[in-house]
Amino acid sequence: MKNLILRTDRLGKRYGRIQAVKEASFTIPRGAITVFLGENGAGKTTTLKILLGFLKPDRGRFQLETGRIGYVPEQPVFFHWLKGEEVLRLTAQFFGLRWADVDESAKRYGPTLGFDTGLLPRRVETYSSGNKKKFSYLQSLILSPELLIVDEPFSALDSVSIKSIRDLFLKLRKEGVTLFLSSHMIAEVQKICDEFIIIRKGTIVFQDDLRRLKENYLLVSLGRADLGSEEVSAWSPSWRKKEGVVELLLFRNLRTPFLHFLEEKKLTAELGEIDLERIFLFFA
């Protein structure tokens, strides 16, 4: 069993008549980069806010194995009357950190993030969206978190900064930090993703290790095949039929018998390698 840093059990949250999160059960392995995927309104941010203690779940529970958590929101907002250095001082005081250590961390992570520490004497409100995001990373990183939760890690950032942040994530993972990233930018997160979780209409529909999935499975598209559900299920429990097109996740070892089956049935199929985008679209 993996060494887990977080385990959730059937989390649920309702906003009036809208069931934002229905059945959110998942785990986050320690020291890995876990990506949380879902369409707009699938319940990603609500789930994150429950884990962070900003929302109270209506049902279910979760267990966090660390108290050292960093958090970077999608669009960070700070008290508009505070300067950057005051926010860092406040953070340091709140968590009982020495200012010398904070200053050292700021000098260490500032250049990595592409954040100009010369901005610190200015009010955070005056920063650009990108700099606010980078500053939010800096605020969390001075805490030396064991778990860093980021909502849309690349939003408001230019391509150079995106590359820097990606490299930072890999560096942090190397240092043993667990990262939990909620993102729409599949192409970007795919480059660094270890584990992924897909949420759909408030329910977790899939979780797996991306490399393991790529190594062991193929994504098969059968076109407009006239097959019964029992026939398809016999090959894979993970299949779907959308607009007459049957798609399924096929275990690589079944490739040869499956090709024989297609020959028998006089069917053609496209057998493709798995990537995060295709798997997301498969479950979305």
């Binding site: 962070l52 900003f54 907002v77 008290f79 009357w81 505070l82 968590f95 009982g96």
Partner: protein
């Protein structure tokens, strides 16, 4: 994190926030300016009387946008406030604002007292009025705090001032019908049920009347209302969630 540490941080944030507001400087400067004006034009006693009547408004004005605007701004969705710390911060905020206001009015009162003592005009009633004034101030902070769950942009304070102004105008325009009540207020004795109910309503809406007319007994009403407000605020903050911005 220890509770005293959180209180200190809430106080630090309250100081920073209020220092950033130019309007607050103006309001805070208005009180000593008015007292000084009355002192120079009338007498020290008049200045002291007005100071004791007006200083609870310092508490009230510092209580602008206590909850709603901060929640809506998204600033509480910060790494500092993880694990429900946003609730702790908001509950400590009332204490921080009370301390801040008390610090300011305390310095002004000490100055006035020093002058009164050095010129042999010191009266023990000043201290009683100041203590009741603090109670009124704390009552204002919690009343404005409760209103700020629903009203943003400083309207929690504005609405209280507006209600007081309307009540005052109402009384002024109905002096002939209310002469009994005005007399009772002047004497500090409320003989019938109607006038007692009227004074209870007035104390709830304009508690400064207790300081002005030295109606010490009615401090109990303010205390009861304050306890009710604190309880209600605790429940509201306990259930506060940071929903979508």
């Amino acid at each position: 994190m220890p509770g005293c540490h959180r209180t200190r941080l809430a106080l630090w944030l309250a100081v920073k926030k209020n220092r950033a507001s130019r309007v607050n400087y103006l309001i805070l400067a208005a009180l000593p300016a008015l007292c000084f004006y009355l002192w120079s034009k009338e007498s020290f006693e008049t200045a002291m009387k007005f100071f004791l009547f007006l200083f609870p408004y310092v508490f009230l004005f510092l209580s602008q946008d206590m909850i709603r605007d901060e929640v809506r701004s998204g600033a509480l969705e910060n790494v500092i406030f993880l694990g429900g710390e946003h609730k702790v911060y908001l509950s400590k905020k009332s204490f921080a604002l009370n301390s801040l206001a008390l610090g300011y009015v305390g310095v002004l009162f000490a100055g006035l007292l020093l002058f009164a003592w050095s010129t042999h005009r010191l009266q023990s009633v000043y201290l009683c009025q100041f203590l009741v004034g603090i109670l009124v101030g704390i009552y204002y902070v919690h009343l404005a705090g409760l209103l700020s769950f629903y009203l943003g942009g400083g309207s929690n304070v504005l609405i209280l001032v507006l209600v007081q102004a309307l009540a005052f105008i109402g009384i002024m325009f109905s002096v002939s019908q209310r002469s009994g009540f005005i007399d009772a207020l002047e004497r500090g004795i409320f003989p019938d049920l109607i006038s007692r109910l009227e004074i209870l309503a007035m104390v709830a809406c304009l508690p400064n009347v207790v300081i002005w007319k030295k109606l010490w007994l009615y401090s109990v009403e303010i205390l009861i209302l304050l306890a009710f407000l604190i309880g209600l605020q605790k429940i509201k903050i306990g259930g506060l969630e940071l929903k979508k911005q």
